[in-house]
Subunit: 429 residues, 2 copies
Amino acid sequence: MKNVIPSVKGTRDFYPEQMAFRTWLYNTMRQAAESFGFQEWEAPILESIELYAAKSGEELVKKQSYVFEDRGGDEITLRPELTPSLARVVAQKQNELTFPVRWWSFGPFWRYENPQRGRTREFFQWNVDMLGVDTPEADAELVAVLATFLKQVGLNPEQVLILVNDRRLMDRQFEKFGIPAGQRLEVSNWIDRREKMKPQEWEAYGRDFGLSGDQLANLKAMLADKQLWQESQELTRFFAAIEALGLSSFVRFDPGIVRGLLYYTGTVFEAWDMGGVVKRSILGGGRYDNLLADVGGEPLPAVGFAMGDVVIELVLKDYGLLPKDLNVNPAPVLVTVFDPAQQAASLKIAARLREAGLNVICYPQAVKLGKQFKYAHRIGARVTVVIGPDEAENGQAALKEMVSGGQQLVDQQDAAEAIRLILAKPGAS
Amino acid sequence: MKNVIPSVKGTRDFYPEQMAFRTWLYNTMRQAAESFGFQEWEAPILESIELYAAKSGEELVKKQSYVFEDRGGDEITLRPELTPSLARVVAQKQNELTFPVRWWSFGPFWRYENPQRGRTREFFQWNVDMLGVDTPEADAELVAVLATFLKQVGLNPEQVLILVNDRRLMDRQFEKFGIPAGQRLEVSNWIDRREKMKPQEWEAYGRDFGLSGDQLANLKAMLADKQLWQESQELTRFFAAIEALGLSSFVRFDPGIVRGLLYYTGTVFEAWDMGGVVKRSILGGGRYDNLLADVGGEPLPAVGFAMGDVVIELVLKDYGLLPKDLNVNPAPVLVTVFDPAQQAASLKIAARLREAGLNVICYPQAVKLGKQFKYAHRIGARVTVVIGPDEAENGQAALKEMVSGGQQLVDQQDAAEAIRLILAKPGAS
């Protein structure tokens, strides 16, 4: 095995077991999004670098994106995030679409980072967005889709909590503290680093870029003020909507939540792993009312979030919530081939069972029956079918239940029904 | 709209309508593959160029692939096809997997070609492969998966036919005609171009690279010999298996089928649009018994095929077979917001209906009811729910059937059941 050509660093191979998990995740996301009426869509995977240049975080485009020239000399980007594509695609048909638009998507993205636990270079992301309405109730709906997903996968608020803030509220506080507009991005980044530094270092860093002692004290008091949201009309309506939706236990105000991406303009939120090993933000989102105009469309309010597949898998694993009984082997029935003379009879019964709606493997070679039964065991087949010379002559088939070992002889025309009865029993597969 | 940042040439935006088609295609492929017990898997999208260098067609890697250096200086390829990744992934776990392995996949691929009808640079491809067995019955199973898909989407053998040949049979013929091993690739390419050139030009081209008059005559006779398969033990067993599977009408021998990719070693097949506008091969596959060893694994026989999404959509459109009634809008229920005072009541009933398993949109803003009803019409909602002050006070909800205009007042606790009854009626959505 040692000479097999290696895969690219930071990518993953999805063997059927891993693929079954990804499909389960995708289906669960679909269920949560569609229960709120969101429509699935998808952007191209290649986009021009121009699309990201305006509004993604600087690090994301300049340091972490896969950018290359194609054979025609155009600069192409492997998309590092979906939101700019969303803005472009909506802007293209802004006069035709029915607003508010509710869209969701699940697909691959790339960032050139150092692979580590919970982080790969090639990853999948769930994106959910609503465009065309600027109400706190719309923001609450996005958070509700997310909370619905978290509940569906079995997480509780002691494990994962959605923390919410509002950039407009923060800006008013910054104004009050005499922090000029030009310094607010720096202050936001400083707030964002609070959990990653020692308190003294963090304060020194704040002083270094120009915060006064008063400003420092005010900002620290603000970060401790869990009731500050009551000064915000938007957040007051937001939390009323969350309560009406029955999701208050999953959602909490946190004045320490700021978001790195430049395009957020209002509500911002992150889901945090509160009790497990990840102990950090596992996804984020918020309101971005300027992005449509930035890509060339008419101004249009928007709110959305994105969640990566790698970190949520890690969190679920950590809490023992990975799904059991994933459908890794779709065929519960194996038709054996008794000998070369019975090849056609086996193919025929397999085709007949498929016609009746069963998923059926017909062993593709007339090897010893023992080997075929061993294969049936290993793939977890629940029923095997044998047609030997006697069965063929009498139009019959021998069915064997793999778990109990029970056998029965049935007319070939009754085989599908008999197999259905076996499969309807509580399985041990 | 004219200033919107453009998309990359040869890519597609999947608006919900296009995405619903893609999802339908994906589900139909899943159904066909799983009915034969194939498991879904997926490879990374980025692979090293080394993986393709050995065995893909020269044009595919050198002229048509997206190749670039990443930030670490590694040469990366956007995968132009799946089979080399499959060989790598299987070779990596060759001692752990249960053979025969039956795997299928549906994902994005890239080729730097001139975009045209039925061809984009970024496209999706369905791949189905069986590894670990070298029988004609395995080859027949792959063709049967494909034929099952064609039948499921409504195509008949007058429209699309699967044409089959065998490279081993061809090699024996070439041997007989005195064509040396070193010239056979050229002869195969020449055969492949037959339909694309005028007969005289095609013959002249054959003479130019060294075919004698006898060889030309023999090759032309061979290409006209529809019974030649009877000289092949493999094809004789293959067609017997196809007949046992009840699929003979979809499958025909054609000595003109050769395949460009170097790695095919036995049975080869293509599906051809016989009656429509495409009038060319719409997909291909075959046996490739040397690829595992070429990527560094132990030798392992394999057979598979790949089909692109763009050309099959074109064929279906051409024959009027695009699916109707795609599920573009998942929510049949719209809860309106009567006024700001009733906001919470509307959110509550929406949450309650979702709890009961319904997909529900709650309008995210207390605009005029008329505007909300108009929205309900445009998205094709079948039921709208109104909670005004009276309904709220009495714990009731007003339901309106959008098609008939019929209205009813129900207790909020009975609303889900009442809506289910309405949705169970034959819809006009």
